[in-house]
Structure formats: C-alpha cells, structure tokens
C-alpha cells in the first residue's frame, strides 16, 4: 500500500491516509478498507467499534503501519484483526 493512499471504511464514516504500510489487510470496524466505499455497508464488528478521532495517528505494535485519520467514524482501526493504537500527541503547533 503506497503512502498517501486514502482509504475508506466499509462499516462507518472513517477515512484514513496511509503514512506507512506493509502487505497486511487494513481494516476499520472489522471490515477491509478500500479506496472506494462498497454499495452495501459492512456490519460494524463489536470489537472494532471504539471510534476513530480526527487528526490522530494510529500505529501497530511493530511500527510497520501508520494511518492518519482524516475523517472520524464509529469503527476502530486494525490490521489483519489486530487493533491499532493512537500514537502519542504531537507537540503544540509551533511557529517560527
């Protein structure tokens, strides 16, 4: 998956931009994410329904995946069934 690719959730409103990815399946709400939304929405899996937050960066334990939430939704993010977690907050917006 190329960095900069924009992926949409099949189960909720979430959209992410790929910062870093490997060969695994990126999911939201328990369903695979894709560049286009399917005609019929996928059901929201109970284990992946904690929601996504706008502007947050989500990573896996090995640092192979990083997704930036550009539109929030009810589903939560995962790769091959493993949940992603929020990366630490950025420093305050700075000025130079």
């Amino acid at each position: 998956m190329k960095p900069g690719t924009r992926l949409k959730s099949a189960a909720c409103d979430t959209e992410v931009m790929v910062i870093r990815a490997a060969e695994g399946q990126i999911e939201c709400g328990g369903a695979p994410m894709a560049e286009t939304k399917p005609a019929d929405p996928a059901p929201l899996a109970a284990d992946f329904s904690a929601g996504t937050l706008m502007g947050k960066r989500y990573i896996d334990a090995d640092g192979k995946y990083e997704l930036l939430c550009v539109k929030p939704g009810k589903g939560s993010l995962g790769v091959d069934g493993q949940a992603l977690v929020v990366k630490d907050a950025k420093p305050l917006p700075a000025s130079d």
Binding site: K2, P3, G4, T5, M17, V18, I19, R20, L53, M54, G55, E66, L68, V70, A89, K90, P91, L92, P93, A94, S95, D96
Partner: protein, 406 residues
C-alpha cells in the same frame, strides 16, 4: 546550504513594518497603549538573533523552504517538528523519499504540481503553502456571541485591571498578550505540563520580551480537577487568547463557543493559521508559510525582488498586533464574542492596505528586501524589559488553588 552573509551590510526595512506601526499608533491613540514602534515588533527577533536574509530559506533556524514544483509553481514547507517529517512519504506518495534531507525533499517536490502538494499537505496537518494562493479565510471573523458584561441595567462588575488568560504559544498569541499587558491588563500565561511553550527553552530572549510581566500557570490537562479549575478561571476572565486547533481544544475539554455564549463580556481570541471555522480551521500554519499563503512572496517576485521569504515569520507579529487591537476593541464594547484571526488573512490584508496606501513604496521595499539576500536583518530600536519573567508554574497555586479546593 546557507548564503555567504555580508554582515557589514544591514538589510532595508522589513516590508509591512509601516503598516504595523500605523496600527500601533492608532492603538496608542484609542486605547492608551504605550507608543510601541512597529518595526521593533516586526524585527526585534531577527535583529537580536543576528538573522540573515536567506532567500528561499527562512531566516533564523531555516525551518521553512520554498521549492520549485513540476508545474512551475513554488511550494513552501515548514519542518520544525520532527514528527512532521514522518508524514513526507504520504505527501509525496513515495515510501523511499529521504525525509531528513532537504535536497531529496526538493527533488520530490519537483515531481508534483503545487496545488496537489498544498491540498495533501493540509490534509496531513503539515504547515504548507503555495505562492499563488488566495487566503482561505478573511483576516478577522466575528463568531459566537454572548451576553454583554454590563448587563441590561449596566450594573455588571467592572474590574480595575481586566484579566487576560493567555493559552497561546510561540509568537503571535503571546505577543497579543504582551500588548494587552502593555495596555495595563493582568495577563496569566497558561502552559500545559506535557506541552509547554518551547520558546522559553529555544529562544529565551524573545520569550522574555513577549512574556514579561505575565503570571505563569502550569496545568496538567490529564487532571480533571485542574482542568475544571482552569475553566472556572476563564469564566472569571475578560479576554482569552488561544492558538490551538479547535479539535485540540475540545479534546482538552475546553468549549470556546459554549464559554462565550454563557460568560458575560468574555472576549475569546482564536489565533489560527488560515481561519477558525470550516475546513481551514484544521490546517496548520506557521509564520513563514502563512506569509507565503498571504501572497507576499508573489508580490515580492512581481516587484522584481525574486522568490523568497519576506521578513521573519512575518505573519506572527502582524497577527499579534491585530489580535491585541481586536481584543481591546471588543473588550470596550462589552459584548462576549469569539473572534477568529487568520495569520494568512491578516498578512494579505496588511499587504492589500499597504498597496492601497502607497503602491510604489511597498513595491520598492519588497524589491529591496528580495535583493538583499545575504544581508543581516535591519537594526531596530531596543525595547527595555519592564516586567518580571515568572518561572514556569510560579503562580499556579495563586490562581488555581482556590478553585481546586472547592
């Protein structure tokens, strides 16, 4: 990659310093602000810091660069947070780009059209701009309103010394707070325990100049009690200054619109890169790239000065001055209001007004600035320090203690 500096030659005046000075003169006449020199506010960081005009690299730490794009445009990118570099592969759609090397970054920029880089960069939350942009928001937006301080019977409480809560960081917001302090207000600088204002550490001289005389409160936003105490402090204040993106503020548990709607007379100054409402409220903007987004680099090129940065983070001091002016005006009116201030919008407004005021003069100043690459910043009058610089958190107990014990 720095130019050979000719330190014997001082640069010409910073363009738009005269515009800044006219605002300050009017603030002196209308609100009793001491007479402060516009060119001092615009140029004191560059003068004291020994800055050199450096063309397409921003003056000072050089965190912002203007780079040529595939379609012949110029793209400004500011990289002063390490964590932003990790986003560059997504900006360029290329996992292999070397994010630590400006030469590699410039080569990647050359593969893309300017408008695409600006669009994707903004989605990613990077401080970016193109030289042919039109600012997305007006300079000043009047937003949520609330009750008047004086009430229907004009019997509301009036303070001897209006109270300002300054939640902002770096330059524009703190400068606004500094000017309100100069106008006789009591200013409390509030910093987050986990994310304090880094200028205290990185540029102590500038920090002291624009934060002298302010009380210092340090707050742990993970602590519900301290957060509630801060909200109580805000409810008793006259002016709030903040420079966070709206969702960051909400995630901290501070709802600006709700506080303005319910707090008589509260003036809330939201300082942003590109506007406080709609999609642009999510964009990040920093002094140098906001100057580019305002059309200042394009104006300099059109005036014969070539492509480069104008001034030192020029949108910051201009915005600080305008924010203070709007804060003083709104405080005098007495009606609670949230005012959105856009750094790119304000810089574009200043340029436009200066062009109307004296087109030939601003053009010749821009040209002279552009041709002075390699010269040190112009000397400006030195302002004496008049107030005490409080150690971080020195006044936390004094201001939050009473609320916390409730």
């Amino acid at each position: 990659m720095s130019l050979q500096a000719d330190l014997s030659v001082a640069a010409p005046a910073i363009p738009l310093a005269r515009w800044a000075d006219r605002q300050l003169r009017a603030m002196h006449a209308t609100y009793g602000l001491p007479r402060i020199d516009g060119s001092a506010l615009m140029g004191e960081r560059g003068d004291h810091g020994g800055y050199v005009i450096n063309g397409t690299t921003s003056a000072g730490i050089g965190g912002s660069r203007l780079m040529r794009t595939k379609d012949g445009g110029w793209f400004a990118l500011t990289l002063i947070r390490e964590i932003d570099r990790e986003l560059l592969p997504a900006l360029f759609g290329d996992a292999a780009v070397n994010c630590d090397d400006w030469t590699a970054i410039a080569a990647a920029v050359l593969q893309h059209d300017c408008a695409d880089l600006v669009r994707v960069g903004r989605v990613l939350g990077l401080p970016v701009a193109g030289i042919d942009e039109i600012p997305a928001s007006p300079a000043i937006q009047f937003m949520q309103r609330g009750p008047n301080r004086y009430g229907p019977n004009k019997d509301g409480p009036i303070r001897q010394k209006p109270l300002v809560i300054d939640l902002s960081a770096i330059w524009a917001g703190p400068l606004a707070g500094h000017l309100l302090w100069q106008a006789g207000m009591e200013v409390i600088k509030v910093e987050s325990l986990t994310r304090p204002d880094l200028i205290r550490r990185d540029d102590p001289a500038t920090f002291e100049r624009i934060n002298q005389g302010k009380a210092s409160v340090l707050i742990d936003f993970a602590d519900e009690g301290q957060k509630a105490a801060l909200v109580s402090l805000i409810r008793g204040a006259d002016i709030v200054i903040e420079s966070s993106r709206p969702r960051a503020l909400r995630q901290l548990g501070i709802d600006a619109d709700a506080l303005v709607e319910t707090t008589p007379g509260l003036v809330w100054l939201s300082i942003t890169g590109h506007g406080a409402s709609g999609e642009p409220a999510n964009w990040v903007g920093i002094g140098n790239d906001c100057g580019v987004a305002a059309g200042l680099t394009r104006a300099m090129a059109d005036a014969g000065g070539g492509i480069g940065y104008v001034g030192d983070a020029i949108a910051d001091p201009l915005t600080g001055i305008v924010a203070a002016r709007e804060g003083l005006a709104a405080y005098q009116r007495g009606t609670a209001i949230r005012i959105g201030l856009s750094m790119s919008g304000i810089t574009a407004l200043a340029l436009h007004e200066e062009q109307k005021h004296d087109r030939a003069m601003i053009d010749s100043e821009l040209r002279a600035w552009g041709l002075a690459s390699g010269c040190r910043f112009p000397p400006v009058s030195r302002r004496e320090i008049q107030g005490t610089l409080q150690p971080i958190g020195a006044d936390t107990e004094r201001y939050l203690g009473a609320f916390e014990r409730c």
